[in-house]
Symmetry: C2
Subunit: 363 residues, 2 copies
DNA sequence: CAATATTTGGCAACCGGTTGACAAAATGCG
DNA sequence: CGCATTTTGTCAACCGGTTGCCAAATATTG
């Protein structure tokens, strides 16, 4: 262990000396164990015959050095197959070229597209995404956020479970963007549920439904409230009655468990907090002999992966989750470049995706 | 060059002098821009009245300092709410407390459980998981791997698409573990497909099937070959005929496209390279009026999220992917602690999950 | 062509930890 | 009680970049 490290120093010195005496660059040198092959700006400086700081400038401050020197240095860097050491860079600057993303549950497909969108957008701009999950617990979430915050340039919270003030505290430290929740003073990306919901409700009304049930999600979820409000308002507008039912958990299993309540409510159309609930609900109702959509229509939320695996395929209100991820990253990177945060929450459109699980009431 | 190195020393000295002269510890100091509030070991040293290096040892070398000093330092650290700066630590040691995971496609649910398993196991041992995706391209994969390798302590490759030698090259640099592929000289975690496959084939044979088709996955996938061999062998054993069909891509869409070939082959039972193919295939066959499983049985592979959303629910050979992720991380961390890599590939069991899409042939 | 303005490159001070070498202090032993 | 050992803490040399300041080199201007 100790020897391993000591080796590094000596090798470093040795390597430098080597370079001056011998011409050839033997990139991969054996080390105690670390085996870090990479060249440093000092190696480049030596090869190019300039000062290390000039190398640093040539490589990271465009225009600061003359075109001639620039070229010499770039060639030398290419020859040595140079790669910056991100840690060395992060130490003095604080910049890490990474952004953190915290989700409640990695296996929840709702977050899939968010992750994807964020990853893609981030890496297109040379940022690495660091992922953490909170296991649906506000405490774990805060811990993870704190830990992550010290090592990333900015943080994205997707459907956070912690409370507003904790989020504001994080945001006062470093750029933070929130997805699926609105918090004043913090940049947010939220799907505007109204459009999708009113499309859904109108479609249900047009198909002869009169009584609508909304199956809610977890109490800590800001979105569950927003969606219920949207459903209530749209139902009123379309002259439907709407009742809210609670679920135990926002999963397939939770959906199964709520089936009983749905039946008892007498509703002929159901909108659920998310697709998982809808799928579980549909499975349970079908198992009990109900025909979907002839006897009951089911509309989910999010259009997750697998929503079209069911029979009938699930009608759902799609949130452009990938876009949310993309937007959040963009906001963060803009803030990192000195641009201010958007003063208003960024709204993305939702839309109804009509598949087979909703339709005319035949009962 | 030498000067460059010397510089550091002098600067360091300066800082020390500063610290000794000024007394007050003003924890949150304004900086040029960074605004990092966190205390350093120098602050702790000041508060505890010891040398910074003693603080460093107290905090990371258990037993190296006396219990008394240890306590004083720990208290001071707690009071200042100290958190190590990972970059400062990584710079001299090379240790980053992160492991990288490269998957072919983040949105492919096959990798969900792997990611989950790896994340959970890693963070339980205070390692952060860094995720990258290769978009199914061997070239992107190599690039991502190289980039990642410089910033992590170890790397996990899930179903890698690059060739064996490239992987060995990576593995000679830092600890690497591979999932879903076997490469001599590199620690691997592979599901042992034979058990699950023979269960599947035996079950099909028992249900009266005589002709079996295997729908293969991408050519670069090592697993697709292994699975075909397993199917061939098991079919022979059970006296079934087996034919191999190629798919264009290992997705739902690919499954749809291969439906035609399946019909033409005359097989009454199909085993696919993965569940996505199976789902697409089933959808297409059902759309064409075939009854599953009465006329044709379908068996998928992996038991991904959503495999039970279909009607009938998908029969599939489950690979314990979460366990693969866990095992891979464990191997990596063991290697980082100086333990050798396992000499043999680690095998995890597969098993047949019988659901509704396979059964007795009624045609 | 001298005087001034502008580039350009070098020096050295940092960022915040880790660790080998060494000396001082504490402990053990005869 | 003195000497040999062991423990404990300090010193200083790093890791590999970035950047403010200054001087040399170059370009511009009168």
């Amino acid at each position: 262990m100790a020897t391993g490290l000591f080796c590094c120093h000596e090798v470093y010195d040795g390597a430098v000396t080597d370079l001056t005496s011998t011409g050839a660059a033997t990139a991969p040198t054996k080390r105690g164990r670390g085996e870090k092959s990479s060249a440093t700006i000092y190696d480049i400086a030596k090869l190019a015959g300039v000062n290390p700081s000039t190398v640093s400038r040539a490589l990271s401050k465009p225009g600061r050095v003359s075109a001639k020197t620039q070229k010499i240095i770039e060639d030398a860097a290419a020859e040595l197959n140079y790669q910056v050491n991100p840690f060395a860079r992060a130490l003095p600057t604080g910049r890490t070229q990474t952004i953190g993303l915290i989700v409640a549950d990695i296996t929840n497909p709702t977050f899939f597209d968010i992750i994807r969108g964020a990853e893609t957008t981030g890496s297109a701009r040379d940022y690495t995404l660091v992922l953490a999950e909170s296991a649906e617990s506000p405490e774990t979430e805060v811990t993870a956020a704190r830990r992550l915050l010290s090592t990333v340039d900015g943080l994205i919270l997707a459907s956070p479970r912690m409370d507003d003030d904790q989020i504001r505290a994080l945001a006062s430290d470093k750029p933070v963007a929130v997805i699926n929740r609105e918090i004043t003073g913090v940049p947010c990306v939220v799907p505007d549920v109204n459009k999708g919901i009113s499309e859904a409700v109108r479609s249900l009304a047009a198909n002869g439904h009169q009584k609508l049930a909304y199956v809610a999600g977890p109490a800590q979820s800001w979105m569950t409230g927003r969606r219920w409000e949207g459903v209530k308002a749209a139902a009123e507008w379309s002259k439907l009655s709407a009742v809210r039912l609670e679920s135990s958990k926002p999963t397939v299993d939770g959906g199964r468990q709520v089936a009983r309540d749905v039946l008892e409510s007498g509703a002929t159309a159901v909108i659920t907090y998310n697709d998982l609930l809808a799928i579980g609900l549909m499975q349970e109702l079908q198992a009990g002999g109900m025909r979907v959509p002839d006897q009951i229509s089911i509309v989910g939320f999010d259009d997750i992966f697998g929503a079209d695996f069911t029979t009938p395929a699930l009608t759902t209100v799609r949130s452009p989750l990938g876009e949310c991820g993309t937007r959040a990253v963009t906001i963060l990177l803009d803030m990192l470049q000195g641009h201010g945060a958007p003063s208003q929450a960024v709204r993305v459109e939702t839309e109804l995706v009509v598949r087979g699980s909703s339709g005319r009431l035949l009962a």
